[in-house]
Structure formats: structure tokens, C-alpha cells
Symmetry: C2
DNA sequence: GCTTAGTGTGTGAACGCTCCCAGAGATTGT
DNA sequence: ACAATCTCTGGGAGCGTTCACACACTAAGC
């Protein structure tokens, strides 16, 4: 119904060629920065392009070259987490920055529902993108399977347990969790619990493993609670549960800053002082950490660099370079603040 | 330098046609859900598609149809704001949801630098998308100009002052600011200041105008401070400045919740009680509002619906339907909590 | 003066799809 | 029984590129 826009016909490479009195081959070579274009031709083409207002038709180019110069960023999170999790935003920006250096375009695909999953799998198959960066894949993620099946160059942020052979970039969640738990131990805490989350993801289960590593014999399964999401509300629930189980608990490792923030709210409500009565440490160094009172001792993870590195890797894959190692681990850093 | 992937040649519509013993015309009709395809043909084609593993090549389709079934979401914000502002995420998700209902794909384009601007303008011209939703355009935004020039169907979230004739969806910032300021007045405050921000955007300047409306004669220019960004740090600075200018100030309208949160941190530090000594109201009803102590009285704006509505409008435009009114205003709601 | 190599240019043939038209065959109306 | 209509199908043309090849011209090299 009604012609869409009825925009004037766009100028094509033919128009430019005619205007510049050269052939389309020459125009194409010039456009692609290939050698063997004389100065006079170059100049005439530049003038002609400006005159007829030519811009490349990417659909045609994609069809002819069989590539799109676009990379997908696939985020698989329910809406609430997408909004709350600052890491995702930072990864997004890091990826975008790196891709733009090579004139690749980032295309964000958000999986909220199963319906999204199917459509996005089609999209990936459809040749719209040359590669993908996948954030926060779960175990048995249908998208991860689809990508493997299509054979699309892809890099995971985080190390998916269900596809350990795929290229990934991540942090040493286990080591970092171990280190920050030791930090908590070093303040003399005796009864330390953990609010864990997202055990269906590598980050979640590794952080728990690191916690266990640090505690060794002292590890008490009863002092670990876990939740599906790294959210503040889970932190609230988790802290309440821990206090119920052990009123004399004096240290808590929360698997994310948001969890820690929720936990601290509960403690404030119940009149327990932090770090006096109980020490708390988090993970992420997100803006939650700075907003807590006292500010949170936590693990800083370089989210933007994770994005950059993932982008670099996927570009390598797209260009047929096999990375020497399938995974890259970026360093983390403990940020000592007041909460422990 | 190494063949990219060397993936096996993908099945085309020809392969399907051959396998099903029909012509590509019939396959195409079937794929596009057109009438006049016999049941036997349909069945044979379905089998053939499954057998050869066919998926449409979108680049080819786009070239033939001259449309892409994709809509761009253009976010023009420095990185820090992108990460902090919860509205952007909600708009993003709302837009994505609406588009997926019509099987359109959302493509996020983030403008961080000028370099991005140029590349994105090219991208938009390149025929990758059929339309665009633009979030947080500034005055004299180069992208807005580019879009107008290309003639791409576009809808703004917020009402850009430099392009008032463009379709947009927004809220009544001025009215809402007036209402919440009156709320503050109704608690008996006498000396009310405002921490304004982003005056180069409609949201910022309209909120200031609404504040002025509500105060009428009592308006005191000296009690207004303004900042470029709606950020917590601006709120900290702003509150300090206001206290310097008028130590007896007893009410503050912050143009965003993040600003209000910063202001409340300063007040806590200085030992002023909220809402006892001073009443504070914000704007956005973001998660900042719930995290403040006490929780913030604020204006709820339906960010996800803004996204949905913008998506609906751009889909109409793409389909050649001219919206009856150029702009749509969504209702806001005052959330009374404890801060005023 | 004849090959050889290096530059620069033009053109046909894809790329994989949709659109459109011609036409076959079945069904209906008079 | 013949025209008119409706349903379904096949295939040519075109979308705007890139790519590979053929060719023309120039400048050396022997």
C-alpha cells in the first residue's frame, strides 16, 4: 500500500562511470583502493561521485563479495539483567571501538525470548554478518549450537562450558575469586559465606570454585546460597538466608557487586556494621561498588578490554587467521576499599 | 592470504527448485507466503529445503527488493552516559520487542566519536536499514542532518529542537517537571533550587522550563545550576554549589535520578537530613530511585514504551503510512516515595 | 626490432534473489 | 461448445556490485 517513500533512484556505479567517462571496472577499482588507476581517472571519478551523489549499495556489494563487513554482538540475557549489568555495556562499547578501527560495523542482537532466538539464528545464517561475539552464553545455548553449525567465525566472552573448544576471551574467575576470598580471610574472618549466582555459566561456577579453593577445609556448603541472576534482589535474599543459617557469620563473598549491594542493604537494616561486624567483598568493580556505603572491596575486571579483545579475535578469524591459542585470559585486579 | 573459512557453498533457491522439481519462481512464491502455490508443490519444496539445508541469502534479497527488514537504533551518547543511563537500555529493549513482532531486525549503532558519525552516515546511506530510531539527538546533530538528507524514514525519541518537523515520540517533560516541582512546593518548601542538565537537549531545557513554570514569581535564577550530563557526579557538584549559594535551601528538583542520588550523597555527608531538612525529587524512576536512602520521589517515564512506540512509528513510515500526527506524547506518572 | 614486464582500462559473467509476464490447465457461465 | 475466469507454473530480466580476463599502451632489456 503506497510506494515506500518514492525516493529518487539512487545513483549507481554506472552513473559515475558515465559521468567520468571511464568504465565501471575502473570506478570499482578506485572505490576499493586497488592499484592501477591513473591519476586522471581517479580525479574524474572523484568529481563524478560528488556530482551524482553516489554511495555504494552495500546489498549488491555483499552479494558479490559474499561478506558484509559487519559483526554481530549477541547478548543473551533477560531484560532486567541487560539493564542492570554494567559489564555488558562496557563490553559492547569495547567491541564497537575495536571494530570501527577496521571499519567494521557492530550489530547488536538481543535475545530476550525464544522467538528472538529463532529469528536471530536466521539472521546469522542470512549472511548479514561475517562473524559474531557472544556475551554470556549459557550451557547448551541454542545460539551457540546454531553458530557452530553454520560455521560462522565466533568468539565468546567468557568460557562456555558447553563449547570449550570455541575461541574465547575471559578472565580467570576462579583465581580472582580465590584471591579476593583470601583477602577476606586475611582480615581475620572466621565464618565466611558466599552468595553465588549464575551457576549455569562459567563465571558463576568458577567463582564458586575459587571460593572453595581459598577456604579449603573451612569450606562449609551450608554457607553457600545461589541464585539464577547476579542481581541486587538476589543479594537481599541471599544475605537473609545466610543470616538465618548462621547468625554469627562474619564474612561474605558476593559473586557480583550487585549481589553485595543487596546484601549490604540487608545488613544495614538489621543493624550489622560493615566492615565491623561483617566483611563483604564483591566482584566486577561496577558502579555499584562506588555507591555502597562503605565502598566495596571488589575484583576489577576489564570489561571494555574483553570486548576489544573479542573483536580483535573475531576479525582475525574472519580474515582466515587461526589464533595461536583458542582462549585469552585478561588480568584482573583487586580493588581494596572499605567493605572488608 | 588464506581463504576465509572455506565454507561449503551454500544451497540456493536453484538447488531447492531442482530438488523439488519445480521452478525457482514457485520456490520464491512459497518462501514469501504468496498465494497460488499448490499443496503438492508446497510440500515438495518444504522437503527439499530441509534436505539441502537452504536458508535465504539476505544480501540477494535486499538487492532485489531494495529493502533490508532492518531498523537502526542510533544512540548518540558518550560512553559513560551510555553505561549509566537506564533509560537507554529500556528504550533499546522496547524497540527490539516491537520490531521483532514484525520480523524486523534491530541494529544498534553507537556514536561515540566523530569518526563513528561518518561511518554511520555511510552505513545508513548504504541501504543496510530501512529506517532509524534516534535516541538523544543533540541540537544540530550531524546524524539528524544526514538522515534528513538521505530521506530515510526516522523517528526521534525525544523532540529534537533542531528538527521539530521530524516524527518523534516523547514525554511532556515540561508538564511533568512542573507537576513534580509543585509536589515539592506542596510539602511546604520555601527555597527551592534545581540541578539541571543537558540543556542542549529538549529533555533538559523543558524540565528547566517546567520548574520555572511551577515556581512563577518565586523562581530564582541563582538557585539553578546546570551541567552537560545527567550524571551522579554532576549531582554531587550541583548540590555543593547550591549549598554554597544558599545554605538555607530546603528543596531541590534534580533533572534526573542520578543527579538526585549524587545530591543526596552530599547532603548525607554534610549531615542534612532528607526529607527533614531538605526535600529532593528526581526524574526518570530509574533504579537509582530505589537505591537512594530514603527512596526517591520522582517522575516515572515509560522508557520501554517510548521504544515500542518509536518502533511502531518507524514501521508505519517504512510502509508508506504517514502518521496522522508528527509527534506522540506518552504519559508520565509521579512516584511518591520518601524523599520529599 | 622483438620479446618481456609493468600499467591502465573495458567488458562479460557471476552473486542469489524477486518481479513480472506469458501461458497451461481446470473450472465456471451462457 | 466456446469464451471467460481463476489457479498455478516456468523462465527471462534486472537489482548494483566485484571479479577475472582480455586487451592496449608504454618502457625496458637484449
Amino acid at each position: 500500500m503506497a510506494t515506500p517513500g518514492a525516493r529518487p533512484r539512487r545513483a549507481t556505479i554506472f552513473d559515475v562511470a558515465a559521468e567520468a567517462n571511464v568504465s565501471r571496472g575502473t570506478v570499482s577499482r578506485m572505490l576499493n583502493g586497488e592499484p592501477y588507476v591513473s591519476d586522471s581517472a581517479r580525479e574524474a571519478i572523484e568529481k563524478a561521485i560528488a556530482k551524482v551523489g553516489y554511495v555504494r549499495n552495500m546489498a549488491a556489494r555483499n552479494l558479490a563479495t559474499q561478506r558484509s563487513k559487519a559483526i554481530a554482538l549477541i547478548v543473551h540475557e533477560p531484560h532486567s539483567v541487560f539493564l542492570e549489568d554494567p559489564n555488558i555495556g562496557a563490553i559492547l562499547l569495547g567491541t564497537n571501538d575495536r571494530l570501527s578501527e577496521d571499519d567494521y560495523q557492530l550489530v547488536c542482537l538481543i535475545i530476550g525470548s525464544d522467538r528472538d532466538s529463532a529469528r536471530i539464528a536466521d539472521y546469522l545464517r542470512g549472511g548479514f554478518v561475517d562473524g559474531a561475539v557472544i556475551v554470556s552464553a549459557r550451557e547448551h545455548d541454542p545460539i551457540a549450537d546454531a553458530i557452530a553449525h553454520i560455521g560462522l567465525p565466533a568468539v565468546f566472552v567468557g568460557h562456555p562450558m558447553s563449547a570449550p573448544e570455541m575461541p574465547y576471551v575471559g578472565i580467570d574467575n576462579r583465581g580472582a575469586a580465590r584471591d579476593i576470598t583470601r583477602e577476606l580471610l586475611s582480615t581475620g574472618r572466621k565464618k565466611i559465606g558466599m552468595i553465588a549466582a549464575a551457576l549455569d555459566r562459567d563465571s558463576g561456577s568458577e567463582r564458586l570454585a575459587g571460593f572453595r579453593d581459598a577456604l579449603g577445609d573451612q569450606f562449609d556448603e551450608n554457607l553457600v546460597v545461589d541464585f539464577p541472576l547476579y542481581s541486587r534482589t538476589s543479594g537481599v535474599e541471599g544475605m537473609k538466608a545466610l543470616l538465618d543459617r548462621a547468625g554469627d557469620i562474619d564474612g561474605v563473598f558476593a559473586a557480583s557487586d550487585a549481589l553485595a549491594a543487596g546484601a549490604m542493604d540487608v545488613l544495614r537494616e538489621r543493624g550489622r556494621s560493615v566492615p565491623g561486624d561483617i566483611g563483604i567483598v564483591g566482584f566486577d568493580d561496577s558502579d555499584w561498588a562506588m555507591r555502597c556505603q562503605p565502598q566495596l572491596t571488589t575484583v576489577r575486571q576489564p570489561a571494555d578490554l574483553l570486548g576489544r579483545e573479542a573483536a580483535s579475535m573475531v576479525l582475525e578469524l574472519v580474515n582466515g587467521i587461526t589464533p595461536e591459542s583458542p582462549g585469552r585470559i585478561l588480568p584482573t585486579e583487586i580493588k581494596l576499599r572499605g567493605s572488608a
